[in-house]
Each structure stands twice: as structure tokens, then as C-alpha cells.
Symmetry: C2
Subunit: 416 residues, 2 copies
């Protein structure tokens, strides 16, 4: 966390992609001194005129003020800018929180030359402390003078809290033969659980797609990506995923696509889903204190919904997660987590695999179980767990990380 030197997660991607600019998007970051010292903590993004916006937010009954704000402007379907700050979530801040949001949008609108309701907002950090939005005065105006289309890494860094590495991803696609690009950033390391993960993510594309179609693509896309990632089962008040489409590709002949089901969007949809999964898995890879990425597949369930519920029950089990941290192939705890999910399961038909090693079969330890082989497997960075229920065709995959002493340490004094 801030002020301490935290080593980068051993699960951080080995290679950071070269992030291509998205025509119609430019960024600047600054040190507004919201909470952290000696690092950037505010991001301003400027969008070209007519940029379409879609958003998905936390389902928390206690959403933050910026989430309320974004929900209120989303029906407009367009955005001219985005302001994100780290260090203070502006959540559970009552009337002051609403005032802070209004003031931030006003300052940003002045800097960008747009209306306040054209500015999307997001905040991440401590809950319950009033956010002093006057700190954005001057800062955002200055940012607006130096926005840069290639500053993705700076943008990803400015929104970090307990993250140990900036998260970026990019994909290319074609719509009706015209090449388009998608590039995104994300943050999130703790208070991560669907729906959604505690995280912020912003994705940008130069495609021209109608806001309603964009929204449909995004709402569907989170299902197997951000909504399939959990670090600690704690859904945040602030989760925000926004997708902006500048429409710059129109100049290269891409016609606006009005409907998410349009066949011309097949490639774009695939690229978007891959990008969202890439970012979401990076969030799990940077789970607080994580030393291992755990991928959990449940198959043979009565439905996909049921499979996902069981997969999340496993992914959120502290006992499963501590066992993986201890490199212990304690599959009995996986049985426990299947059992506690409350979903249809027949104890005597369950099989469990770690990687390719079948450890349990039809309700009992696999006759050929080898402790040595399994123990060797558990030393890996990425642990694949597959549970076959054998009672249906529903399947689902979710991602999480192990639960280590470092998680407890990080979260035992986050505020101090």
C-alpha cells in the first residue's frame, strides 16, 4: 500500500503489451495529493465529440457517490471525458459525497469545455472519508492542456491502490473489414468479488457502435470475465467498468453498428471479451498477497448458473485458498466447498482434477492417487482445478488467487 515498498506480484504478466493509441482518446495524470504522496492519483481522459459510453457497476446496496453519478448520466449514452482518482472512494460520504461528485464534474467540464453530465467519474480507495474535490481545481485544467493519446501506462498507474503492477491490455478486430482497436486499463487487488470485482476498468475503442449496442456487448461481456473473478468475496461499493467508443473508425469507412446482435460485430465481440478476460485475470493475478493464480472449472452441473455458483463457492473458500497457499493438494476442502454451495450435487459422482491429475473419482480418493505427483503440481504458479459433477451439462470457469499471510498483513493496516 501507499508509503510502503511492496514487491510486484510474482504472478504479474512477464510481458507488457505495447499499447496502441485509440484515435479520439487522450490522457493525462497528476498528483492531486488526495491521499498518496509522491505518486499520481488522478487521471483525466478526453474523448472526441460523439464518443459513445456503456457501463456496468457494482450491485452493492451501498454504492459510492461516483457510481450513482455514472448511473445517472449513462442514459445519455455519450461522454466527453473521464476523471478517476485513487486513494479515496468517495463512498458512504452522504450529502458531502454528492457535492464532491458534482464539483469534480464541474471542474472537469470547465477544463474540457463540455457539460458536467458529459463527464464520467470513478473513485477508489478508503470508504467513508469525505473527498475534498477542491483539490482537483487547477489540476484538471492543467491535465487538459497536456493530454496524450499514448499515455496508457501512466493512466493505469494513476488509478492503482494496493495494486502491485499497472494493468493494461489491447486487442484488434475488424468490423465489416475495417480494422478497429480496443485498449483498456484496470485496477483492483482487494475487495474483489463479483458482481462485480472491486475494481475499476476503462476500455476504449475507435469503433463506431451505437450506445445501446455497446451497452449490450459490455453487459454480456462481463459475465465470464470481471464477474468470474474473485479475490476475497468482498464486493466493493465502487466497482465500475466503462467502455468508450470514439467512432474515429467512421472516417476510415466503418459504418455505425446499431445492434449488438449484428453479425458484423462478431469479431469485435470476441476481441472485447478476450480483452475483458485479460484484464480481469490480471486483477486476480494481483490479488492482495497472491502467490498463485487459481483457475477453477466446474463441469457436469445441472446448469451454467449452478456451475458458476459452485465454482465461486470453491474460489471464495478460505480453506481452499489457504491450502493452495500452502501448496497442499487438499481436495477434501474442495468437496466441502461443493457441498456448502447448496447447488445440486451427487457426492458419489464427483471427480476432481488438479491439472491433469485426477485426485478424486466418483466420490472417493482416486485409486491411483499419487501424493508425490500432486505435491509437485501444487508448486506451480498457476493451479488449475477441475470439478466434474457428472449430473448435467452446465459448466463455468472462475479465477481467484491463494490466501496468504500477506493478504492479512496488507488488510490489517490499510488505513494506518
Amino acid at each position: 500500500m501507499a508509503g510502503k515498498s511492496v514487491p510486484v506480484s510474482p504472478l504479474a504478466p512477464k510481458k507488457v503489451p505495447k499499447m496502441p493509441a485509440i484515435e479520439g482518446v487522450a490522457f493525462a495524470t497528476a498528483e492531486a495529493g488526495i491521499r498518496y504522496k509522491g505518486r499520481t492519483d488522478v487521471l483525466l481522459a478526453r474523448f472526441s465529440k460523439g464518443t459513445a459510453m456503456a457501463g456496468v457497476f457494482t450491485r452493492s446496496k451501498c454504492p459510492s457517490a461516483p457510481v450513482d453519478w455514472c448511473r445517472s448520466i449513462l442514459p445519455g449514452g455519450r461522454a466527453a471525458g473521464l476523471v478517476v482518482n485513487s486513494g479515496n472512494a468517495n463512498a458512504f460520504t452522504g450529502l458531502k459525497g454528492r457535492e464532491a461528485v458534482a464539483l469534480t464534474a464541474k471542474i472537469a467540464a470547465k477544463a474540457l469545455g463540455c457539460k458536467p453530465e458529459d463527464v464520467a467519474l470513478a473513485s477508489t480507495g478508503v470508504i467513508g472519508e469525505p473527498l475534498d474535490a477542491t483539490k482537483f481545481e487547477g489540476v484538471l485544467a492543467d491535465c487538459a492542456t497536456r493530454v496524450n493519446p499514448t499515455a496508457f501506462m501512466d493512466a493505469a498507474r494513476a488509478i492503482m491502490t494496493t495494486d502491485t503492477f499497472p494493468k493494461v491490455a489491447t486487442r484488434k478486430a475488424k468490423i465489416d473489414g475495417i480494422p478497429v482497436t480496443l485498449s483498456g486499463i484496470a485496477k483492483g487487488a482487494g475487495m474483489i468479488a463479483p458482481d462485480m470485482a472491486t475494481m475499476l476498468s476503462f476500455v476504449f475503442t475507435d469503433a463506431t457502435i451505437a450506445p445501446s449496442a455497446l451497452q449490450a456487448l459490455l453487459s454480456k461481456g462481463v459475465k465470464d470475465s470481471f464477474n468470474a473473478v474473485t479475490v476475497d468475496s468482498d464486493t466493493s461499493t465502487s466497482d465500475t467498468l466503462l467502455l468508450f467508443a470514439t467512432g474515429a473508425a467512421a472516417a476510415r469507412g466503418q459504418m455505425e453498428v446499431p445492434d449488438a446482435k449484428d453479425r458484423r460485430l462478431v469479431g469485435f465481440k470476441r476481441a472485447l471479451n478476450a480483452l475483458l478476460l485479460d484484464l480481469a485475470v490480471q486483477v486476480a493475478r494481483d490479488g492482495e498477497g497472491a502467490r498463485k493464480l487459481i483457475s477453477i472449472a466446474v463441469e457436469g452441473a445441472t446448469s451454467a448458473r449452478s456451475a458458476k455458483k459452485i465454482a465461486l463457492s470453491i474460489a471464495n473458500s478460505p480453506l481452499v485458498k489457504t491450502a493452495v497457499a500452502g501448496e497442499d493438494a487438499n481436495w477434501g476442502r474442495i468437496v466441502m466447498a461443493v457441498g456448502k454451495a447448496g447447488e445440486p450435487a451427487d457426492r458419489d459422482r464427483i471427480s476432481i482434477r488438479f491439472g491433469d491429475i485426477r485426485v478424486a473419482h466418483e466420490g472417493a480418493r482416486d485409486p491411483s492417487y499419487s501424493e508425490a505427483a500432486t505435491t509437485e503440481y501444487m508448486k506451480r504458479d498457476v493451479i488449475d482445478i477441475t470439478v466434474s459433477l457428472g449430473i448435467g451439462r452446465g459448466k463455468s470457469r472462475v479465477y481467484t488467487c491463494d490466501l496468504t499471510k500477506a493478504y492479512v498483513e496488507i488488510n490489517g493496516d490499510y488505513r494506518s
Copy 2:
């Protein structure tokens, strides 16, 4: 865990009650060498003829073989004996597990001179390893020759796994003016979550109460006791709570009570509920790695059910539990946990207290909030958190413990 010297939980009760004998119940323990070395791991209890039995079990979809066994004999409503072993849960052991249960009951029946279906069984420990019931051969016969009515502490010790102290409690009551006694033991330290907590508990009384009435009292009694305790949200495959009524008080003139709603049972019910709560809170006090007991009251919810769901959402939140471990009054995380419960809540009406200190009021930090006073409060052993939702009259209280590095350590190598 076994083999390591673990210090007793700092939350262990300062005084252990003197446990009065229950007429009609006697115990013996032994070292069967199931898993642990140099400690007792099997408990035999013998009951006088006609002892009534009631039981409540895990709701896991993957229950252990002994849970299946107890469920199958429960309709008989009577028991002549009880065998409990620690070290191996006999769960997810398939056909072998069923055979082990049948063999254990057969060996015990022979030792006690009863039918196998008169013997209740429970096992706790590692999941997925076959239980070698032949180890009970000889051991139970020997136990039967030396049962002792006052060996409660020995009984409580023999059923421990990662527990750091034996758990016992006793209460007195009157039925129709005749004094009766209730005495119970419990174990459970991890894999503890309603419904039920991962735990075993056995309660004995000399009262004479019809099995159906006994069952009704027990089913109701767990609601605010064992089903209101969570250590890590992980419901076990093996949770078993059994209540045995020997009926010895009949000799002193207590007439059998046929119905749980009978007014004569008011005092007994109160004593039973107090006993169950006492044992359940001891389980939370011995939560793996626990340094603080957390009592969470939710009031002003739309219903008691809704209040309990919110209370459990707080109690199971790793972020709330790590904050308490770090003595950090991070009430923002409590807001988060209220929000993620999915139950009705109005963010702008929520108040939160730590002990008597109101930290948040009507959706924002309390204007008179004192970080110093709250920080001082957080140093205590027992942390009381009250959340007032202000939208109804439903209330509930649950108990949990903090999440420490020791929890991760204990569970990172339980099997090794």
C-alpha cells in the same frame, strides 16, 4: 494442529465450569491412533436404557458417512451409545466410508450390548481419507469397561482437532419443579460456518422429554447459537449436534413432557438455549488463529432473516475480519459488507457503532467521530459491532473472530 505445540487461544474462557454428572451418561476415551499420536482420539459414551435422542446436521450436499448414519437412525428417537473420533472425518470416502460406519457401530454395539442402530456416530478431521474402523476393535470394548459419569473434560479433549482448549458448559433448570441438569461438550475451530458451524457438539440431560419434543427444542435452539457462529464461512461436511435425554429425572418424579410447546418446558428451553449459545461462542473464541471475538448485531432490518443475512455478510468478510485483527476501526468495510449482502438497506440511513462509540450516522462518518477513542476500543479482546439500518424492526446477532496470519498458517499445512 497435531504434533505442534499450539498456545491456547487468548480468548479461552478464564474459568472452566465444574461439570456435574448427568445421571444415565458415562464416558471413556482412548488412543485409537486414527491419526494423532500421544493423545486420545476416540470417545465412547454409554446411555441408560430409553435415552431419547435429537439431532441437527450440516446442510452440506456432500455430508460425511457418519452424518448419513445419524440421519438414518434418528427417526428411532433413542440411543444407547455414542462414538466420536477425531483426526479423520470419514467424509468423501464412498463405499468404504459406509462400510467403516457400519463396522464402527457394530463394534460399539458389541461393547455396549445394544443394537448397531442404537449407536450414534460422529467423526471430525481430514476429509477424503478412508477411516480404518478396525482400529476401534478392542478399543471400544475396553472403553465400555471403564466408563465414568464425570469424565466431561476427557470427553471434550478427545474430540478436539485444531481446537486449542476443550469446550464444556453446563446449566440447571426445573421441569414442573423437579431439578434437571444439562451438560455439553463441543469442538470446532475451523471450517466453521452456519448452517451449522463445522463442529461437533453433544449435549446430555437427565430430563425425560419425548424424542419429538426434544427434536423441536434442539432445531429451534440452534438458530441463534450454533447457526449464528461463523469462523471462515466454510460449512463442513460433518457438522453434528446431538442432544440426549436419559430420563433419569423420572425417578425423582419428573413426568415425561410430550410436546415442545408445553409450558413446563419454558425453563428447560431457556437453559438449553443458553447452553448452546455458551458452547457456540466458545467455538468462535477458538476460531483458528483468533485473537479477538467479534459480536455483530444488526438491527432495524426489514426482517430477522434479513438482519441475519447482513450480519453474516459482515461476519464472513475477510476485509472486516483482517481490519479487526489489525485493530483498525475500518467501518467503511462494514458498509461494504452491508452493501454486498443484497438485502434491503438504505445507504443514507445506516448507523454503525463499535461498542458505545457511534462511528457512522445516517450514511456518513459521525460528526463527533474520534479516531483516538475508536482505536483505543479496538484494542479489546471482544469487539461489539452494531449496525442500525433504520428501515424496519428485524434484528439478529452473530459471532465470529478476526482473521489473522495464524489462520493462514494453520490452514496452509493442516494435512502435512
